[in-house]
Each structure stands twice: as C-alpha cells, then as structure tokens.
C-alpha cells in the first residue's frame, strides 16, 4: 500500500471511532490525544481494526510510538505483519 493509501485508511478508522471530531483540522505532527478525545477503549479498538483490516499486530510495547498521525502512518509503512 502507498503512503497515501495507509493515511486514508487510518483516517477512516479514526473517523469511525470519533465521527464528531473535525478530522480535517487535526495536526498530523501533534499528539492525537491532545486534539481528539480518544480513550483507552477507543485506542484498543483502533489497534484491533488495524489488526483485522491490515493484518498488522501492534504490540502494546509499541503503542507509545503511535502518538501522532504522522507517526502512525510511518509505523505502519514499516510494515510489521502478523
């Protein structure tokens, strides 16, 4: 998948979690949790969606790396697959 395809998918998943947030206004370089209300249940739902749809198993120890939109896309491009 291309960088743009990954980014588009990630935004779709996040939109499904927080539909009322203004995703166009989200700064991809700043912490997501500072801009949109995402709690631990939401985040695990997001990780589960990545696992089910993209086949990528993000271990808990890597959650900290997925803090900004840019970092999430970069991580998934690195492609650690199940």
């Amino acid at each position: 998948m291309t960088h743009e395809e990954i980014r588009a998918k990630i935004i779709t998943y996040l939109r499904d979690i927080a539909p009322e947030a203004d995703w166009k206004a989200v700064d991809p370089t700043k912490r997501l949790r500072d801009q949109v209300e995402i709690d631990s249940v939401d985040f695990l739902g997001f990780i589960t969606r990545i696992y089910n749809d993209l086949g990528i198993n993000v271990p808990e120890s890597d959650y900290g790396e997925l803090d900004t939109l840019d970092h999430i896309v970069a991580y998934l491009e690195g492609g650690r697959h199940v």
Partner: protein, 231 residues
Amino acid sequence: MTDEKALFMRRAIAAAMEKSHREIPAYALEKEVRMDFALDWLAAHNAETPPPERILPVCLYIKAVALAAKAFCEFNGHYIDGGFRPAEAVHTGIVIALRSGGLLAPAIHDAHRRPLAELMKSLTDLVTRVRSGHVKASELTDPTITITSLGDEGPDRVFGVIYPPQVALVGFGRVRNAVVVEKNEVLPHRVASLTLTADHRVSDGLRGSNFLNDIERRLRNPESLLPGETP
C-alpha cells in the same frame, strides 16, 4: 448528539447529583495502591495475545471491585424508602463519558462471576452503544455499585458523587510513578489512588477501609481475577 439530547442528559445528571447531595450523607476514603503487580501481569498477558483479545486495566478494576463488593455487602445495593436493600448479584456501573459532554453509567451485569475476557467484551460493547445512543433504560438503573476511572490523562484521584439509590462509588485515579515505602525499602513504583465515596447511613469508615483493603489485595494478585465462576 443533538443539542436537545445533550440538554436532556445534562438535566438528568443534574437531578441525580442534586438528589445525591441532598439525601446521602457521604464519607470519602482514599488509599494509594501499588499497581505494578496488576500492570506487569496484564502486559505479559497482552504481549501473548492479538488485539481483539487484549484486556485493559479498567477491566481489572471492575473485577476486583465486583468481587470485593460481593464480600462487603454494605457497598452493593440500594437505599430505598428509608432502608438499605443489599443486592444478591453485583452489577457494576461504569462511568462512560460522551465526547460531546455528559456521561452515562450503565451496568456490566454479574461482574463478580464473569471471566476477565467476557468483561472486556461487555465493556467494549457498552462503550460503543453509549457513544451511539443505544443503551437500554434498564441498563442505567441496574447498577448496584458504580466505578469511575478518568484514565491515563486524568487526575491523581477522584472523589465522585454517589448515584442514587446506590450507596457507593469507587474511583480510580491515573496510574503514576511514586515513591513507596514498604518494609523499610524506599522504591519507585507505579501506583494509583483508589477512592471510596459511601453512604454513611449504610456503612462506616472501618468497613469502608476494609472494603478498599480487599480491592487492593485483589489488584496485587491479578491472577485471581481471571476466571469466572459458576452460579
């Protein structure tokens, strides 16, 4: 959520909180609890499981409180018509915030009897339905005790307001690093503040203190929280 719905929700919360403040003589207790045992155990469990089967710390909180509430019945039930009615089962209400503001605290039924994995599924399902507005009225009146946890970015401790006619609310502050003195050793550990707000018509501080001690013991022994039990 529409403005009208949000206003309706805010009014309902206001009515409940006013009633609580007016009618319940509440006392509050706090205990700082070491969380490393529970969190290390959880990390090891989650490292071996794919995302759909991972368990969140709040699930451990729910199970520990539910088991303790089964043992300490003055914290599990309802105060109605001038008397306390203890409940047979433990249906833990869990406070779930709505993104637009407002909150609901629906029940996870029979939390004391169910395995952690099932509690996790119930929690995820509840959060989804709260956010999409598909919670049944009965789920909001079924809780026999309520738990509130404001998460990693939350405050160090929370003293909540009891949701009438319940008689207790257990709060969890954020997990944080603190220096703990235990057996003359001074060491940094991950801890969380565990709080109890309880109805003084039904229980007193000594029982409340023992109730918190029981929750702490269970959180220090997370393996004991895994299984369910047959009724």
